[in-house]
């Protein structure tokens, strides 16, 4: 009878009417240690941000000799040194072509971001969307996409069903989209529960109703097992109940300053990075305000057309034409761009690290997933990919490590991030890019 009662209540709610939940909003938002919401004990949310830069890091020289915690950051990553303890560097992974041609600037990313190397027409289900399906439910935006070089096609995020998403290129437009008139303060009192969640919640009660029947003929040990099951069921129901309640207020949320009007989009790398830093602030605030839990940033498309002031050739041209300096072991002019981008990565990380949420920063509760389209830039190779992952995913990822996986599948990095983000997959990828074990060194 109690179950009937609960279902009737839910059915009453299923009209979808606004429900005002009488929680004292300003009272004690977090528990004492600041690790979770006080009201529910629920962990503060985990976020995922991808960050793309084109054309890799260098030939082989960027791979530190040591693995584990005691390693030297390579020259290209020196700007990240102050937060080396908050990042992991991955090296050695490759994308397997399995008989497909290497369509440069595309196939490699297609491989490690979607797990599948196929024709250029197929680009579905990138890592961020698989993660977004798990962590991103119930937020205002499923995800935010931005690109810093003025090219809306530069984004690598693609859902399973709809292909690549188009990116916002203007910081002001992004600001308006998030923090304009439609922005709702997370502390506002009104809330409309999701009918689809109500249906699921209600259906689970049907399983509970099987309990009595099942218990009838069981011995004590089997009864204990079944009790475990129903405890799990109860916690699943609670999870849905929470989704049917007004979300927790977000004390770290504040509205950022609106960016200035845009000047004309130029192709100077420093201008793109200035735009990048505006995006970094907006995205960090959008994450802190619960507007989304997933964001994707691209500096440029893979074939970076950015240039250094006074030098007419662009980054992409340098990777093709510039000889490898025999002493340095890399292309010095191309490296100038790599270092500039990595300074940007540091700035992005600091924008997130500067927002304190209880005992952790926003960065600590996230993974900032930096990736690129090629291994060795000159060859546009699909081997030895650098990945830089910052943040510890709410404590699920260890940081400060260099993880080498020479010859392994680059998809392991994405798979590892998905594991840390709680994506329920026990393997990922197709053919030789199929992986079933994460890089467990970094998983807690």
């Amino acid at each position: 009878m109690t179950t009937m009662h609960r279902r009737r209540v839910l059915k009453g709610m299923m009209g979808g009417a606004a429900v005002t939940v009488g929680l004292p909003i300003l009272d004690c938002l977090l528990n004492e240690s600041g690790t979770a919401f006080a009201a529910t004990g629920k962990e503060l949310p985990t976020r995922f941000v991808t960050w793309f830069w084109g054309l890799g890091l260098g030939e082989q020289n960027w791979v530190p000799k040591e693995t584990g915690a005691k390693y030297e950051l390579p020259p290209q990553l020196q700007s990240l040194k102050p937060i080396q303890h908050k990042l992991n560097l991955f090296s050695g992974g490759q994308v397997f072509l399995d008989g497909q041609a290497n369509n440069t600037h595309f196939t490699g990313v297609q491989g490690h971001m979607t797990g599948k190397v196929a024709s250029a027409a197929e680009y579905f289900g990138s890592v961020d969307t698989l993660i977004g399906d798990v962590i991103g439910k119930g937020t205002r935006f499923r995800s935010l996409e931005v690109s810093c070089d003025g090219d809306p096609k530069a984004c690598w995020s693609a859902r399973m069903d709809s292909g690549k998403l188009s990116a916002e290129v203007s910081p002001l437009a992004l600001y308006t989209r998030i923090f304009g008139p439609e922005f709702k303060d997370p502390n506002a009192a009104e809330f409309v529960p999701d009918p689809a969640v109500m249906v699921r919640r209600s259906a689970l009660s049907a399983v509970s109703e099987e309990r009595k029947d099942l218990m009838q003929n069981l011995g004590a040990a089997d009864k204990a097992k079944l009790d475990n099951y129903f405890t799990a069921l109860r916690s699943l129901e609670q999870k849905l109940d929470i989704q049917l309640q007004k979300p927790e207020p977000l004390p770290a949320c504040s509205k950022p300053k609106a960016p200035d009007e845009e000047k004309e989009v130029s192709t100077l790398a420093v201008d793109a990075m200035a735009r990048h830093n505006l995006f970094a602030q907006l995205i960090a605030h959008a994450l802190a305000c619960g507007q989304t839990r997933v964001a994707n940033l691209s500096i440029t498309q893979g074939m970076s057309g950015l240039r250094k002031e006074g030098e007419p050739s662009n980054h992409h041209t340098y990777t093709h034409e510039e000889p490898i300096d025999p002493v340095l072991g890399y292309q010095p002019k191309a490296a100038w761009f790599q270092m500039l981008y990595m300074k940007g990565l540091y700035d992005f990380a600091m924008a997130m690290d500067g927002i304190q949420e209880g005992d952790k920063t926003l960065l600590d509760r996230s993974i900032l997933y930096a990736y690129t389209d090629h291994g060795a830039p000159r060859l546009h190779s699909v081997r030895n990919y650098p990945f830089v992952l910052l943040g510890s995913a709410n404590g699920r990822m260890k940081t400060g490590l260099h993880v080498a996986d020479p010859g392994g599948a680059a998809t392991r990095v994405g798979f590892t991030a998905m594991q840390a983000m709680g994506v329920p997959l026990n393997s990922w990828g197709v053919n030789s890019n199929h992986v079933s074990s994460p890089l467990s060194d970094v998983l807690v």
Binding site: V207, E210, G408, S437
Partner: protein, 554 residues
């Protein structure tokens, strides 16, 4: 017995008794006699990921994608299928089952599948339809719960489907809600053993007919019973010999038997360990990720061909020169494999027969064994020997003590100890290690011709490899000799029989019973035909014996 001996070992260490003394007298012993336990054992079994997948494929067809993560499995008495007895469903596990269930249910009702998978049409697709919902729930629920649904269960699900359909104005969405609910139900996720009064023996219990049906189908097909088997069970046919035999005969001649045989050997040969196994590509460039997957498939194909298609002698699996290869595997093994299909086609599996003088024969020489039981950059005769004892012969090898010094074993560039045998000999000279290594190393060293990836070699660090060894007093030289010794060892056939029984029953058999001896005899009389063994088990009384809730400690 297992636990007791471990405790004894630890205690011996703690009080400083010379371990050499204990270890010297330490004999290999059978590892998985029914486990003595002071507390009650559960009898229900959580269905495994492969059983879940196979069931969905059997019920809804192979075009339903099952993408998601399962709860981890645990191995007990050599099998995940026995570990399933103590496997629970955790909070996060149930969330995963819930995600899987919703993913499957949405596909079953989508426009591509509904015409074939839902045998009725609603009067109005935008509203609840009790008649059609009842038909689908009754038919599908019967296969998922492995029994006809009771009327109140049907009513309950019709209500779930109806409420949901009304809410979102979609009959099929309602049906999918109901289906996903059944897919997370303990009735689907667990196999319960239901007992009833035994009319033939007053005061005793027996397994009910439907429980017998699923025990049988999980043994032979690695999935739940089909409609015919449920029907036979409902009619009580499985409670008499003739009826049971009819079903068993039908089932062993079904193509589904192959799935059952594959699942059993994947479990027995511990293929789940491939998930955490890798090789150093600097040393083993031909061991690609593709080869890793293909090496498991090679062994399963060899087994299915030998024991199902040819109905050969189980023992010959260890000596057969017949196998299947792809071009990538052939390159790993350094043998030619001609494929004349056009460029750009995927590689094909081809039957391959090793020559008379080839050092490779049988499944132990395949990468699925020698590579699986080796570390990333070197071989481990101890690891291979231990795996052979435990997985193939059902014997237990004690774990090394915690304070053991591995300095000799791991130093592959040691200028004095150039071969693995040299290094192990140095290691064994330490008294505390000698006893256990005596059990594993003499058989593992015979496989030293196979490097860590499964490639063939005759030298190590420029020194000729010595592959002599012995198994239970039988001396041999090299992998072929070892294969013959395994072939002839009575433990080999005894082991597979016990494992096959346990795979279906979720517990090891009591081997000192007359029933068991009869199964063993039948296996022998059939020239160790594995399908006959399955049939014998499926027809035996002991397979359906009501498991005792408590087992007295010995």
């Amino acid at each position: 017995m297992k636990t007791l001996n471990r405790v004894t070992l630890k205690r011996a260490l703690a009080v400083g008794i010379s371990l050499a003394g204990i270890a010297a007298g330490y004999q290999v012993f059978a590892a998985d006699e029914a486990k003595p336990a002071a507390t009650e054992q559960p009898t229900s079994l959580r269905i495994s990921p492969s059983q879940y997948r196979q069931s969905i494929t059997d019920i809804f067809g192979s075009s339903i994608a099952i993408t998601g993560r399962f709860e981890p499995e645990t191995r007990d008495e050599g099998l995940m299928a026995v570990g399933a007895r103590t496997a629970n469903v955790s909070d996060s596990g149930l969330e995963r089952y819930d995600d899987l269930a919703r993913g499957i249910a949405l596909q079953v009702v989508d426009e591509r599948h509904r015409a074939t998978l839902i045998s009725c049409k609603p009067a109005n697709a935008k509203a609840a339809d009790e008649a059609c919902a009842r038909k689908f729930i009754t038919e599908t629920g019967r296969l998922l719960y492995r029994r006809p649904l009771k009327e109140d269960e049907i009513q309950n699900q019709i209500k779930v489907a109806g409420d949901s359909a009304d809410k979102v104005h979609d009959f099929y969405a309602g049906l999918s809600t109901s289906l996903s609910t059944m897919l997370v139900s303990p009735n689907f996720l667990f196999r319960y053993k239901v007992v009833e009064a035994d009319p033939a023996h007053a005061g005793q219990k027996r397994m009910d007919s439907l429980t017998k049906a699923h025990q049988l189908s999980f043994l032979l097909w690695n999935a739940g019973p089909d409609d015919k088997l449920i029907e036979a069970a409902v009619k009580g046919e499985l409670q008499n010999k003739a009826g049971l035999q009819r079903q068993v005969d039908r089932m062993v001649s079904s193509p589904r038997l192959e799935a059952g045989v594959r699942a059993f050997f994947s479990d027995m040969l511990t293929f789940s360990d491939f998930e955490v196994m890798s090789k150093d590509p600097a040393f083993f460039p031909r061991y690609t990720l593709k080869v890793k997957d293909e090496s498991q498939e090679q062994t399963l194909r060899t087994i299915v061909d030998h024991v199902v298609k040819r109905q050969g002698d189980y023992r010959d699996l260890f000596t057969t020169r017949n196998t299947f290869l792809t071009r990538s595997l052939a390159a790993l093994y350094d043998v030619p494999l001609v494929e004349t299909t056009d460029n750009g086609q995927p590689m094909h599996w081809q039957p391959y027969t090793y020559g008379e003088n080839d050092p490779r024969a049988g499944i132990l020489a395949q990468a699925s064994f020698v590579a699986l039981h080796s570390p990333a950059g070197r071989t481990s005769p101890t690891g291979r020997g231990k795996a052979l004892r435990e997985a193939i012969l059902c014997q237990m090898v004690p774990p090394p003590p915690g304070n053991v010094d591995f300095k000799f074993v791991q130093d592959t560039t040691n200028p004095v100890y150039k071969t693995t045998r040299d290094r192990l000999t140095a290691h064994r000279s330490e008294a505390m290690c000698a006893g256990c290594h005596k059990i594993t190393d003499p058989i593992g060293l015979a496989l030293e011709n196979f490097d860590s990836s499964g490639g063939f070699r005759t030298t190590e660090n420029g020194v000729q490899i010595d592959t002599t060894g012995d198994l239970s007093g039988v001396k041999f030289d090299g992998p072929i000799g070892l294969s013959k010794a395994i072939h002839d060892d009575p433990a080999t056939v005894a082991c597979v029989a016990k494992r096959a029984f346990a795979f279906g029953a979720g517990r090891s058999p009591t081997t000192n019973s007359d029933d068991w001896k009869q199964i063993e005899r039948g296996f022998k009389d059939s020239n160790y035909n594995f399908v006959t063994l399955l049939r014998q088990i499926a027809l035996s009384d002991m397979f359906y014996a009501v498991p005792t809730q408590t087992v007295a400690a010995k």
